[in-house]
C-alpha cells in the first residue's frame, strides 16, 4: 500500500488527461493545465515492471482516477471473482482518489469481448446492475462512479430512459455518476434526441467527473449520421458547446480528455486540456 488515506482527497475541478506512457516525461517535467490523471485499471494488473513503477511515481504528484474497462457490470452472469479481487488489490495498493466503471457489459460465457456493449433499460437490468455495483463497492471499500455509455442502437424491450435508469441505480446503490458529454452527443445524434434534454434529465448533483473525447462519423442504413465513440481525435466544437451548457448547470467539475487511439504528442493533448481549462474558468465556482 502506498498511503493509508488517499494523498489527494478529491479530484480538482480542473482538466485531467487519460494517461499514456509516451507522455510520462512531459507530465513529470511540466504538466501545464493538467491537474490529475486517469488510468485504465486493467493496464496496471501486472505484477511489476515499468507500468507499476511509473504509476507509483505519478501517484505521488497527481490525483489519480482509476477507470475500469473490464468488469462487465451489466453482464447477465455473475461478476468474475478473480477480476473483483484484482480491482480490490489495485485500489488497496494505489489508494486512488476515485474509481469509476461503465454502464455496459463486456464478458459473457467466459469470453471478454474488449468493447462496452449495450444494455436494455429494464427492471431486470436495474436489479442486476445495482447488485453488481453493491458487490464492487463492498470489494473495494469505497464509492464508485458509473459512466453513461455511447449508444448506436436501442432495445425494443427498454422501459426506462437512460438518465432515469442511471438516477435509480445511483439512488439504490449510493454510487456516484460520471457524465461523458461526448457519449451524450454521440447517443443523441444516433438516436435523434436533443442532447440538452438528456443533460437536463441527468442527475448532475451526483456527477463527480466529466469525460470528453473525439468520435468518428459514419452513416446508418438510411443515410443518416451514425457517430462512433473512438477516442481517436480531438473533441469537436458541438461537444465543447455541450460541455459549456453542462457546466453552467452543474457548476465546475473535474473534466477529463480521453484520447486512447492515434495518441497525439503532448502539446496537442495539452491543448485540449487547456481548452477544458478555459471552459472551466467561465463557470462560477
Amino acid at each position: 500500500m502506498l498511503d493509508d488515506t488517499p494523498r489527494f482527497a478529491k479530484l480538482p475541478n480542473r482538466p485531467g488527461v487519460g494517461y499514456k506512457p509516451q507522455h510520462y516525461s512531459d507530465l513529470i517535467s511540466d504538466a501545464g493545465d493538467v491537474g490529475w490523471l486517469e488510468i485504465h485499471a486493467e493496464n496496471y494488473m501486472g505484477s511489476g515492471g515499468r507500468p507499476l513503477a511509473q504509476l507509483r511515481h505519478l501517484a505521488e504528484r497527481f490525483p489519480i482516477s482509476v477507470h475500469g474497462v473490464g468488469l462487465s457490470i451489466g453482464g447477465e452472469g455473475a461478476l468474475d471473482p478473480e477480476h473483483l479481487a484484482r480491482l480490490q488489490h489495485l485500489v488497496d495498493w494505489l489508494n486512488p482518489t476515485v474509481f469509476s466503471e461503465h454502464l455496459a457489459w463486456s464478458t459473457h460465457d467466459g469470453a471478454f469481448l474488449n468493447d462496452l456493449l449495450p444494455l436494455p433499460y429494464t427492471q431486470a437490468t436495474l436489479t442486476r446492475v445495482a447488485d453488481h455495483i453493491d458487490q464492487l463497492q463492498n470489494a473495494i471499500g469505497r464509492q464508485m462512479m458509473l459512466e453513461n455509455p455511447s449508444s448506436y442502437l436501442a432495445f425494443e424491450e427498454s422501459t426506462w430512459s437512460e438518465p432515469d435508469f442511471l438516477r435509480e441505480v445511483a439512488n439504490r446503490t449510493g454510487c456516484g455518476l460520471l457524465l461523458d458529454v461526448n457519449n451524450v452527443f454521440v447517443s443523441a445524434t444516433n438516436l435523434h434526441y436533443d442532447p440538452k434534454d438528456y443533460i437536463s434529465d441527468y442527475p448532475l448533483d451526483k456527477v463527480g467527473e466529466i469525460h470528453l473525447g473525439g468520435h468518428d462519423e459514419d452513416e446508418d442504413d438510411h443515410g443518416r449520421p451514425l457517430l462512433i465513440d473512438s477516442h481517436g481525435k480531438a473533441v469537436v466544437d458541438p461537444v465543447w458547446a455541450l460541455l459549456d451548457h453542462t457546466l453552467a448547470l452543474s457548476g465546475p467539475r473535474p473534466v477529463l480528455i480521453e484520447w486512447d487511439n492515434d495518441v497525439p504528442d503532448w502539446p496537442e493533448l495539452h491543448a485540449e486540456a487547456s481548452r477544458a481549462s478555459t471552459a472551466l474558468a467561465k463557470v462560477p465556482a
Binding site: M45, L52, A53, S72, P118, A154, E156, D221
Partner: protein, 250 residues
C-alpha cells in the same frame, strides 16, 4: 423481443449470423449497420491487441495476412479475461495447427518468444545480487552455489534460429543461419531482452532453476554440449540482473 447476451455475443463474433431481432433505431426499425459498429469494434480492437502483442509475427507474415489470421483466431479464442496484456496465450498452438502457414514452421516458437517477452515485461520486480557477489565466494565452494532467479527470467527451447529470427526482424540483426537457438530472456530494469543461450546453456539453466548447485548444473551443461561455456552463461545472467540470491549448499 428480448435480446439475450448469448444471442448478442453469438452474432457479434459470427458475421454470417442474423443480427438479433429487438435491436432498433429510434423509429423502431431494425438496427442493421448500427449493430455492425459493435462487430467492428470487437474485431478491430482484438486484432490490434494481437498485432501489438505479436509484432514479429506481424512483420514475418505481413500486416494483411496477420489481420486475416488474427480474425480467425479471435473468433475461436476470444480473451478469457480483461487482462489484454496476456491475450493470445493460445496463439502459438493455433499457428501450429493452421494449415496455410505450415510452411513457416518457426512461427509458433516466435509467438512463444513474444508471449514470454510480455510476461517478462509485467513480471514482479526483484533485487539482483551485487555484480561481485559470486566473486566473493570461496572458489572451493563455487560448485555448491545454489541460485534463485528474477520472475522476469524466461527460458525457451527451439529447434529454429529463434533469437536470430527475432533480432533480424526487430533489431536489424544479420540474416538468420540454420542453427537451433535456445533463448534466455532477462529484464535488467524494465525492458526484457532475449539472448541466444550458448550451447548447453538451456540444460544448465534448467538444472539451476530446479535448485541444483552450480557444479552439477555445469556438468549437465557440459554433458549436453562439450563446448559448454559456464562463464558465458554467468556473464549473461549477471548483465541481465537475472540472479536474485545465491547460497551455498552444505
Amino acid at each position: 423481443m428480448i435480446v439475450s447476451q448469448t444471442e448478442f455475443r453469438g452474432a457479434l463474433l459470427d458475421g454470417a449470423r442474423e443480427r438479433p431481432i429487438g435491436l432498433v433505431d429510434e423509429k423502431g426499425r431494425a438496427a442493421g449497420r448500427r449493430f455492425d459498429v459493435y462487430r467492428n469494434n470487437v474485431a478491430v480492437s482484438l486484432t490490434e491487441a494481437l498485432s501489438q502483442g505479436f509484432p514479429t509475427i506481424a512483420k514475418l507474415i505481413g500486416e494483411e495476412n496477420f489481420n486475416a489470421v488474427a480474425g480467425i483466431f479471435l473468433r475461436q479464442s476470444p480473451p478469457a479475461s480483461p487482462l489484454m496484456m496476456h491475450y493470445g496465450a493460445g496463439f502459438p498452438e493455433f499457428l501450429e495447427g493452421f494449415a496455410p502457414l505450415q510452411h513457416l514452421g518457426y512461427l509458433a516458437d516466435v509467438a512463444r518468444l513474444e508471449l514470454a517477452l510480455r510476461r517478462s515485461y509485467h513480471a514482479a520486480d526483484a533485487t539482483p545480487i551485487a555484480p561481485d557477489a559470486l566473486g566473493e565466494i570461496d572458489p572451493m565452494q563455487l560448485g555448491n552455489v545454489v541460485m534463485t532467479f528474477a520472475p522476469a527470467v524466461e527460458l525457451l527451447h527451439s529447434p529454429w534460429p529463434l533469437h536470430a529470427i527475432w533480432a533480424y526482424n526487430m533489431q536489424g540483426g544479420p540474416k538468420p543461419q540454420a542453427v537451433a537457438q535456445d533463448v534466455l530472456i532477462t529484464r535488467a530494469e524494465f525492458d526484457p531482452m532475449p539472448y541466444a543461450l550458448p550451447a548447453g546453456g538451456l540444460a544448465a539453466m534448467t538444472a539451476l532453476t530446479a535448485g541444483n548447485p552450480l557444479g552439477e548444473a555445469a556438468a549437465i551443461g557440459a554433458n549436453s554440449a562439450p563446448d559448454f561455456d559456464l562463464g558465458a552463461l554467468l556473464a549473461l545472467l549477471l548483465q541481465g540482473n537475472a540472479i536474485t540470491s545465491i547460497s551455498i549448499t552444505p
